[in-house]
Symmetry: C2
Subunit: 120 residues, 2 copies
């Protein structure tokens, strides 16, 4: 629907992260982010609780982790499930879209780890 009504030649028929007004720019900003890349990667192993994520993403503060997870949830990359227990239990998992997004992010992470010695 969004694509069919766009006339040929219009600015939005060619999605590009290089266009400031394109939604792609916002998505790139979300994914091209340290904590997002790490969070999505951590969730590749399966659903995880807040505390477990916090332990895996060394150095992340609870506030920032919450913000990151909420932002990913808001954009449909992560699913948040709250269990009515005490102490509270919250599980985060990848959506289908999130799992797909993990592919390029995993490439980026592994490229960094494999080429870190080349950096000055």
């Amino acid at each position: 629907m969004a694509t069919s009504s766009a006339p040929a030649g219009a600015c939005d028929d060619r999605k590009s992260v290089y266009l400031a007004a394109c939604p792609c720019r916002e998505m790139l900003d979300l994914l091209a982010n340290k904590w997002s890349a790490l969070t999505l990667g951590a969730l590749e192993d399966g659903p995880q609780r807040f505390g477990a994520l916090r332990a895996r993403l060394q150095g992340v503060s609870p506030k920032v982790l919450t913000q990151t997870l909420r932002r990913l949830e808001e954009h449909g990359l992560v699913h948040r499930e709250v269990f009515a227990e005490v102490p509270p239990r919250v599980e985060y998992s990848l959506t289908e879209l999130g799992a797909d997004a993990c592919v390029p992010l995993a490439h980026l992470r592994s490229w960094v780890e494999q080429n870190i010695d080349r950096f000055p």
Copy 2:
């Protein structure tokens, strides 16, 4: 590999983006960044001048572009060449390392552009 003492199966904990103290974390922070990803991608077409980059990366301010380029240069991803002319001419180009880093970043950018319609 530089750290060849790690036995198979044993994770080389010294090279992981999930360790706060690992230099990988810093590199991920540099690459997993909106403007870095866009700048490196723009330079894939060949050396470009400051003004041309500024035009391609719609919405970037000169200060932020300068900061991004300087940071990329500092980490050996971008080469900066100043020509003693008036008006001044400065050309930015990818180093070999920068060109390699473009591969996973290009995947990320194209994934975003191809999947933008799936986002809520």
